[in-house]
């Protein structure tokens, strides 16, 4: 029987198609999480009220930020999930090497982040409609009216970038955990520890600095560059680390 040669591009394409199908549970959990986030958001993020005895005014602010936060968390969780044993060895059923496996995971996470970004932004419309119809008696959208198409696209784009950044964080964490089981506990403990110290200090700490670095960037292009450079580094680290990893079952 003659040997077959397979180009890397062909294998990555096949793996990507396979993963969209095999990892479809990831998208189910996305829908579920976003629904929960919308439900939570129905309580409003802030409210005030006044009354003069005759008239009572109750003012509530609603925001879909919670949905975005949940989606980012979902990004981390999904990325960690596909590095766990149940998923990571799927590639080895068929044709793979470590690089194609990592690259097809990257494509999958890009797709997932994109879908997560779209649905997160669109859910703010859902929130508005639900609040308008069922919760509030008088509904005021933001003073500039409903956002325009460009604004929505920009929203989707930056949501996508944030989620993708979190995916890459999760992916690196998941890869690290494969080296030693104890990292499963150490890694979250370290992150929580640093957070805790930040809070205890009372001043802006590491996380706040990191947050500002991305969040206060006013140029969309620079923001894009910052995120992509960070995500790229995270991915390279994961791919480099996992390139010599064995398949253990």
């Amino acid at each position: 029987m003659s040997l077959t040669k397979m180009s890397m591009i062909v294998v990555i394409k096949k793996q990507y198609a396979f993963k969209l199908q095999a990892y479809s549970q990831v998208f189910l959990s996305l829908i579920f999480l976003q629904m929960i986030a919308v439900l939570f958001s129905l309580g409003g993020v802030a409210s005030m009220g006044s009354s003069d005895g005759m008239v009572e005014v109750q003012l509530s602010y609603y925001s879909a930020d919670m949905v975005l936060v949940f989606t980012m968390l979902w990004g981390i969780i999904s990325a960690v999930l596909i590095t766990t044993k149940a998923y990571r060895n799927d590639d080895y059923l068929f044709i793979t090497n470590r690089l194609t496996s990592n690259l097809s995971n990257l494509l999958f996470l890009l797709t997932a982040s994109f879908i997560g970004g779209i649905t997160a932004i669109l859910s703010s419309y859902l929130l508005k409609i639900v609040v308008n119809l069922f919760v509030s008696e008088y509904f005021f959208s933001n003073p500039n009216g409903w956002p325009g198409a460009l604004e929505t696209l920009l929203g989707i784009f930056s949501a996508f970038l944030y989620i993708f950044l979190f995916c890459m964080l999760g992916y690196l964490a998941g890869t690290l955990v494969q080296f030693h089981k104890s990292l499963t506990a150490l890694l979250p403990a370290a992150i929580l520890g640093v957070l805790f110290l930040d809070v205890a200090d009372g001043k802006a700490g590491v996380f706040a600095d990191i947050f500002t670095f991305y969040h206060s960037e006013s140029s969309v292009f620079l923001f894009f560059l910052k995120i992509m450079a960070t995500a790229g580094l995270l991915f390279l680290a994961s791919a480099g680390l996992s390139n010599r990893l064995e398949v253990r079952s």
């Binding site: 549970q25 080895y92 059923l93 194609t100 010599r244």
Partner: protein, 306 residues
């Protein structure tokens, strides 16, 4: 051409040596049986060949390339084992389609015919199958992929006798129609020996024996008769197994290098020279002591510990 070549292949797990300076070659298009006790290193060897594990030292080439992290080797090898982690989100039908999308030689006709023959339902999920059914499904993947190198690690785990027979028949037929290199590890040597052309016996991570199955069938002989005579007859031979039978009888398995003259003399002396079945022989060869489990219960051994 050789499909697999190992030289001084060693694999350590922590301080445990799973493979110890293993050197062997598997020729192309041969159906070889991989035999050994649990822990002899069969699965480790197969995992290294499939590129799952990296050798600690030594050299291994599969189709003249080191298999670890190698896309070409991966494209030409399918590794079927009982720990296969098939995606839980896909139905059996979808898994077959996915496998078909990867393997260039995949024969979907064969896959679906076997699928129907073994009464699988297209919409079933893999994790819902019984152990035997899982093995059967894995086997369908392994055969239909028609990879130039097909590795089966204990493929019949959990299968009932009828399915095992069907599997052997399917394997042989497909092998004849599409000759390829097949490595088959199994605990049931007596069931598979007729299918095999060669047999590779591992013991404690080393190659113990690599020969054609025909030679193995004549490789050893059992000497049976009065203990004194048997000891006399097996004096200059390589003793593989020995046990006392009854009062003064003895059964000793030795390497078969008796000449016709010796056979004649033995017969006249009332000594039986008997053939040894290959599966018994492999048990004797791979056991750690010459007397087998009986040594453990030997009453002559002092139990007091001094």
């Amino acid at each position: 051409m050789n499909a697999i070549e190992c030289k001084g292949l060693t694999k350590m797990f922590g301080r445990v040596k799973a493979l110890d300076q293993l050197s062997c070659t598997i020729e192309e298009n041969k159906l070889t049986g991989l035999i050994g006790r649990n822990g002899a290193g069969k699965t480790t060897l197969l995992k290294i060949i499939a590129g799952y594990l990296r050798e600690t030292s030594g050299e291994i080439n599969v189709f003249s390339q080191p298999p670890f992290n190698n896309l070409t080797v991966s494209a030409n090898v399918i590794f079927v084992h009982d720990q296969m982690n098939l995606p839980t989100a896909l139905t059996l039908e979808e898994i077959l389609a996915a496998a078909g999308s990867f393997y260039p030689n995949w024969n979907h006709g064969l896959a679906t015919r076997l699928f129907d023959y073994f009464s699988f339902q297209p919409l079933q999920y893999y994790h819902g199958l019984s152990k035997g059914m899982k093995s059967t499904f894995n086997m369908i993947l392994g055969l239909s992929a028609r990879c130039p190198l097909t590795l089966f690690d204990e493929p019949t785990t959990g299968m009932d006798t009828a399915v095992r027979k069907d599997f052997y028949r399917a394997l042989l037929k497909d092998y004849m129609d599409h000759p390829r290199t097949i490595l088959l590890s199994s605990h049931y040597l007596d069931e598979i020996e007729d299918l095999l052309e060669e047999i590779l016996v591992l013991k404690e991570g080393k190659q113990l024996l690599h020969t054609t199955i025909d030679e193995l069938q004549e490789w050893a002989a059992a000497v049976q008769g009065k203990a004194a005579f048997v000891q006399e007859w097996s004096k200059n031979k390589q003793i593989i197994f020995s046990e006392k039978v009854g009062m003064d009888q003895m059964y000793t398995v030795v390497k078969n290098d008796f000449s016709d003259k010796e056979r004649q003399l033995a017969r006249e002396a009332g000594i039986d020279l008997l053939p040894v079945s290959t599966s018994d022989l492999c048990v004797y060869l791979t056991s750690s002591s010459i007397g087998g489990i009986d040594d453990v219960f030997d009453k002559n051994v002092d139990d007091s510990g001094d």
